[in-house]
């Protein structure tokens, strides 16, 4: 019965992947970001724990294992799992951990090269760097020297109030450290590919967060929608493929901004929240169960 808990994190991951986008568009963005990052971390951790426990169980059946001698029969009675499965699980768990470490390392080196590049960008007033470039470009660069980089092409594509919205949007990214949430989602997804849609939903929710801050600043959500749309349309001359999903983000952002009262998604939100909690409960239950089981098998074995 309790062993069914082993499937919970994977199930939650699957459900989460399906509802993540609805959470990102149908909740106030701050809540959406909090919920989605919690979900991503919970699923990644839950899956890893389950796989590690399965590995531990398989290891316990090896007579020379450090866990001491246990009754294999007693274990098999309770958990009908061939050791090969357990070892495969352990291997996958190890891969997950390595993947996270590798990804974290890549993020760090990349952040380093970007810090070096921003340092060369030259002087900035209130973190703003303006670049002479006819292409429409605007981005926020977090890091040791946070910068908002905007091209003259982008500025010309927007009206004065739209420029204000753009600047407020980028400043919000830096002020609220949005990169942390996106990075957390990416690390979770690098451990567990099941979470890629959740990671993309976090990116969308973070953009919405900045959009809503900009809307509060200029006092007009429709104006922000127009700024996003004008920027996206001006940005056109670089169809590099591979970014189609990002185009979907722009559409969703504009759609939400144009809706006076966005439709809420209580079911998707509840599923995500309950799911995240269920991952931890399942992991704890399984760990506890395995502990008991090993003790029992140990006692049977030593008691004769």
């Amino acid at each position: 019965m309790i062993l069914a808990a082993a499937f919970v994190p994977f199930l939650v991951g699957g459900v989460g992947a399906r509802v993540a986008r609805r959470v990102a568009t149908g909740l106030p963005p701050v809540a959406a970001v909090a919920l989605l990052t919690t979900l991503a971390a919970s699923v990644a951790a839950g899956c890893a724990v389950v796989l590690l426990l399965a590995g531990l169980l398989a290891l316990a059946e090896v007579p020379t294992a450090a866990l001491g001698h246990v009754s294999v029969d007693a274990l098999r009675d309770h958990v009908p799992m061939p050791p090969a499965v357990g070892f495969a699980a352990a291997a996958i768990a190890l891969l997950m951990v390595l993947s996270v470490l590798w990804h974290a390392l890549r993020l760090a080196t990349r952040a380093g090269s970007i810090d070096a590049a921003t340092a060369r960008l030259g002087p900035a007033v209130d973190n703003l760097v303006i670049v002479r470039d006819p292409g429409a470009l605007a981005y926020a660069v977090p890091g040791r020297t946070p910068r908002i980089v905007v091209s003259t092409g982008m500025l010309r594509a927007l009206s004065a109030p739209e420029r204000r919205a753009l600047l407020a949007h980028e400043a919000a990214h830096l002020r609220y450290h949005h990169q942390c949430y996106v990075r957390l989602g990416q690390l979770a997804a690098s451990a567990n590919p099941l979470l890629r849609p959740v990671c993309r939903a976090i990116e969308l929710a973070v953009e919405r967060w900045a959009d809503e801050i900009a809307a509060r600043e200029v006092g007009d959500r429709v104006l922000v929608a127009h700024a996003v749309a004008a920027a996206a349309l001006a940005h056109r001359p670089a169809p590099r493929g591979a970014l189609a999903a990002a185009g979907a983000n722009v559409l969703d952002r504009v759609r939400v901004l144009l809706t006076p009262k966005p439709r809420r998604q209580p079911v998707a939100a509840a599923l995500s929240a309950v799911g995240a909690a269920a991952c931890w409960v399942a992991a704890l239950l399984l760990a506890d169960h395995l502990d008991e089981l090993l003790e029992l098998a140990h006692r049977i074995s030593s008691g004769g």
Binding site: R106, L107, R110, A111, I114, A117, T118, L121, G122, V125, D126, L128, I130, R132, D133, A138, Y139, V141, P142, I148, V149, T152, L155, A160, R163, R164, L166, L167, H169, E170, A171, H173, H178, Q179, V182, R183, V206, A210, R216, E217, D220, H226, V228, A229, A231, A232, L233, H235, R236, P239, A242, L243, A246, G247, A248, V250, L251, V254, R255, L258
Partner: protein, 129 residues
């Protein structure tokens, strides 16, 4: 239209820099005020311009009874634009957009572009009705 919040001084400084960056000639406080929006007091604009001047972000030249301001040295230095291109390459190189978070918008495919235009024209019509 709602005017939104009062600007933070940093926000206003950035707006003014952005405004001057695409101006064809030096601008007086009155011109900046007209360009940025009517809800701003003239004195606020003037104070911010002098503050930016004091920070050596702007240069000014007398025009009539006021000063006309423009960005210092202009940003068109080869170094800055070279670096900007490198940044752009970094930005577009990988899918890990966390380090260089969030371009304001990303490239649209043709279909999304069409949808976007429809969304906007729908919104405009709804407003007119």
């Amino acid at each position: 239209m709602a005017q939104g919040r009062a600007r933070t001084s940093g926000g206003l400084e950035r707006e003014i820099i952005a405004c001057l960056a695409i101006a064809d000639e030096p601008m007086t406080p009155a011109q900046v005020q007209a360009e940025i929006g009517g809800d701003l007091a003239y004195t606020t604009v003037m104070t911010t311009l002098s503050r930016l001047y004091a920070k050596r972000a702007l240069v000014r030249s007398p025009r009539g009874r006021a000063f006309a301001y423009q960005l210092v040295g202009d940003v068109s230095t080869a170094q800055a634009s070279l670096t900007a291109h490198q940044m752009r390459a970094l930005l577009e190189a990988g899918e890990d957009r966390a380090s260089v978070l969030s371009r304001f918008v990303q490239t649209l495919d043709g279909e999304s572009e069409q949808l976007l235009r429809e969304l906007l024209s729908d919104a405009r019509e709804a407003k007119r009705r």
